[in-house]
């Protein structure tokens, strides 16, 4: 029976551990075991019976492709906002030192502070939501959205990298002049130009977390 269970686990490995999927896994496994027991009682060898069972479920295409599930809106919102607050707090602290000498850094840092305040307000508002409100979420759509956000971030970051390098070292590269960095202050300014846009990493990380938050906030919902 172990090879059967391993087979089913393998099929389900690619799918998120939603309640619907976990139940489907149990149901499919128990039905296959009933089939195997039946085959054995009709004289088939264990090897043949297990092969039959595996052949009857070649894939999980029949599962809900959108991977929809029901979440408690309150738990969902709180979970996401809490994660966002955590990411923003880290981003804020990490950009604080740049207030001392970098103008854009100061602006970005203040922006992060404002975002923290906004997220904090939303966090406390979300606590007021009724615990019984539910929302339907499609995990497949979330996965797609998350992938797009990562792609966009990567594009933005690469573009920004090229821009900053071009502005700072463009003439050096074009005229083959060596690069001079006189002193720690200049170095810090340069580091800031590269480091500050990287803090936007919080956005794709937060979007990615939404999938996890969905699973954590799942509730028993009506199939309708």
């Amino acid at each position: 029976m172990d090879s059967l269970e391993r087979y089913i686990n393998q099929l389900f490995a690619r799918y998120p551990k939603t309640q619907a999927n976990l139940e489907a896994q149990d149901e499919i496994l128990s039905n296959l075991r009933a089939r195997i027991a039946d085959d054995l009682s009709h004289g088939l060898s264990e090897k043949e019976a297990i092969a039959n069972a595996k052949n009857s479920i070649p894939s999980l295409d029949f599962l809900d492709s959108k991977q929809r599930l029901t979440v408690s809106t309150r738990a969902f919102a709180l979970n996401i906002l809490q994660h966002v607050l955590l990411c923003l707090s880290v981003a804020w602290i990490v950009t604080l030192p740049f207030r001392m000498f970098h103008t854009s850094g100061r602006i970005l840092n203040t922006a992060y502070l404002l975002m923290i305040i906004a997220a904090g307000i939303l966090y406390f508002l979300a606590r007021l939501l009724s615990p019984s409100t539910v929302t339907r979420v499609s995990l497949r759509s979330l996965q797609k959205a998350s992938r797009w956000v990562w792609i966009l971030f990567a594009l933005f970051f690469l573009l920004d990298l090229a821009l900053v390098t071009g502005i700072r070292f463009g003439s050096n590269l074009w005229f083959s002049r060596p690069i001079h960095i006189n002193g720690p202050y200049q170095f810090a300014l340069l580091a800031a130009d590269y480091f500050l846009p990287a803090t936007f990493l919080w956005i794709p990380l937060a979007v990615q977390h939404v999938g996890k938050a969905t699973l954590e906030a799942e509730v028993q919902g009506d199939e309708a």
Binding site: Q82, H83, L86, S89, V90, W92, R99, M100, L113
Partner: protein, 190 residues
């Protein structure tokens, strides 16, 4: 689990707030103060920072932007002024839109000497300087000016210790200042 995250957030925010206060209420005011003090020192030839103008070294006075930047970092920089360039006579003119009477004569005299030393030292083909106030005008030529210095001005301006002893220190003595002005500068009333 959620509670732990809440506590982490709270701790981070408190730390951040403390750092923010440290930066905005302690460091930046101190930095502003230091900046103010520096700028004040920059306005006085006796305390001017030579390294702040060394980057304006140039072969040609015709590079007007460079010369203007130089004077923008020398004493008398905060006076309203306009500039004129005469490439034919290789003379650079600064028009100060104030009257000499309204200023500290000691400061102006010292600055004229200091600024001229800096300009002749840094700008290789500069031959003459004209400082024009509303009520008086001072002009000086490189030939007249440099003979009062033992070493070439271009050397002095590259070596802070020499600059200190040959240019700055003599300015402390008012008699030396007056003598130098009388000797090198051509004064006209307007």
């Amino acid at each position: 689990m959620r509670h732990k995250k809440d506590i982490s957030i709270a701790i981070l925010l408190v730390i951040g707030l403390l750092i923010l206060l440290g930066i905005e209420c302690v460091y930046r005011p101190a930095q502003e103060q230091r900046q103010q003090e520096y700028e004040t020192r920059q306005r006085d030839p006796l305390t001017h920072d030579l390294s702040s103008i060394q980057q304006y070294k140039s072969l040609y006075m015709g590079d007007a932007a460079n010369t203007i930047h130089l004077f923008g970092n020398l004493p008398l920089q905060d006076l309203p002024s306009s500039y004129e360039n005469d490439p034919e006579s290789l003379t650079f003119q600064i028009n100060y839109n104030v009257s000499l009477a309204s200023l500290s004569e000691q400061l102006v005299m010292r600055s004229l000497i200091y600024n001229s030393a800096a300009a002749f030292g840094l700008i290789d083909n500069l031959e003459g300087l004209r400082y024009r106030f509303l009520d008086k005008e001072f002009s000086v030529s490189r030939a007249d000016f440099s003979q009062y210095f033992e070493q070439p001005l271009s050397e002095l301006v590259q070596t802070p210790s020499l600059w200190e002893s040959a240019v700055k220190e003599p300015l402390q003595d008012d008699n030396v200042v007056i003598a130098l002005i009388e000797a090198c500068f051509h004064k006209t009333s307007r």
